[in-house]
């Protein structure tokens, strides 16, 4: 009677430890979501507001630690270990940006946009596209990658045009350096374009590559990363558009970055199981 259970356990790719870890991360993010709504509703005392603010910031640090720990466990001498390290360093860069942002806004009462936080936020794009490039190249001996790259490039150009038509043309460029300052104009232009060319397009290219694996489990963690990239890009785009069109920022939009980096952390947990020797 014990044999079927043993076989089922042996064949189960995602381990109970991953379900538990994922549940904890999702629970913490949901708690931050609740706190975020309270922060937006101005329903918290100053101390509770500051603690909630730091809770959200430290959550990003936790996500980075999870991904980097998985990368180190896979091993940096392995190709896939390097790919996951780059994803983790991207989230770590975002977390550092968030820490700087929190200190500037919460403790120094400064407007943190633009600020020293921005280069770290931009670094996430750099690490992410490097991770995607390595991941796509790693599959080049197994599946065709040229058509996915061309398709993603074309889609990226179209989306870049949409960003220009909806955001850069009507809002950001007219504001120019007079309203934004030089660095303000640079980062206000870079974020929406970075979302398209450094997040969405590479994620689409990777999706088109790994779809050729069918249900092959080596593709599973990358599918989760692709979902994270989509959440990240949509959040950034929504935030920029809401800010510039005057439609107003919401707690849901604020939660987007936490949800995106949470998704990257969940992807790393899936990767840990997929790369486990059975």
């Amino acid at each position: 009677m014990a044999a079927p259970t043993t076989t089922a356990q042996k064949n189960s790719v995602i381990t109970p430890a991953t379900y538990i870890s994922a549940g904890v991360l999702i629970g913490l993010t949901a708690l931050y979501g609740f706190l975020s709504t309270q922060m937006y509703a101005d329903a918290l005392s100053d101390t509770a507001y500051a603690m909630s603010y730091w809770f959200g910031t430290l959550l990003q640090v936790l996500f980075a630690v999870v991904i980097i720990a998985v990368a180190l466990r896979i091993g940096l001498s392995q190709g896939v270990g390097k790919q996951w390290l780059l994803v983790g360093l991207g989230v770590a860069a975002f977390a550092i940006g968030d820490i700087i942002w929190t200190v500037l806004e919460l403790h120094m009462g400064l407007d943190p946009y633009p600020s020293l936080a921005d280069p770290f936020y931009v670094l996430q794009y750099v690490f992410f596209i490097a991770a995607m490039a390595l991941a796509i190249r790693s599959y080049s001996h197994l599946t065709p990658v040229r058509a996915p790259l061309i398709t993603a490039g074309v889609v990226g150009l179209i989306l870049g045009g949409v960003v220009y038509a909806l955001l850069l043309g009507p809002h950001i460029f007219p504001a120019g350096t007079a309203e934004l300052g030089f660095w303000g104009l640079v980062v206000s232009t870079l974020y929406p374009l970075g979302d398209v060319f450094f997040m969405l397009a590479p994620a689409l290219a990777l999706a088109l590559v790994i779809r050729q694996l069918g249900a092959g489990r080596l593709g599973w963690p990358w599918w989760v990363v692709i979902i994270g990239a989509l959440i990240y890009a949509l959040t950034d785009a929504g935030y920029s558009f809401a800010d510039w069109s005057g439609s107003g920022l919401t707690a849901t939009l604020e939660m987007g970055w936490a949800a995106a980096n949470l998704t990257f952390a969940l992807a790393a947990l899936v990767a840990r199981d997929v790369y486990r020797i059975r």
């Binding site: 896939v80 270990g81 599959y139 197994l142 050729q212 694996l213 069918g214 092959g216 080596l218 790369y275």
Partner: protein
Amino acid sequence: MATLRERVITALSPYVGATVADTCVRGTALSIGKTADELTDADLPALESNVRRLLSPVAPSGVIDDLLAQIERGN
């Protein structure tokens, strides 16, 4: 007893899907001037070398070693 082609596809499919697994076998066979169905256990060294080369960028070496052992055992 399953053929070498079937053993490789059985071992690799859960990781890279059936199509890519089949491509691995056919690629190896082509490189030694055979068809996939003509592969025998004598071709294992060439097959292992090819599988390792193809999978090493996308999977840790421990997983590849395990898959190759599975192919050799035939389960």
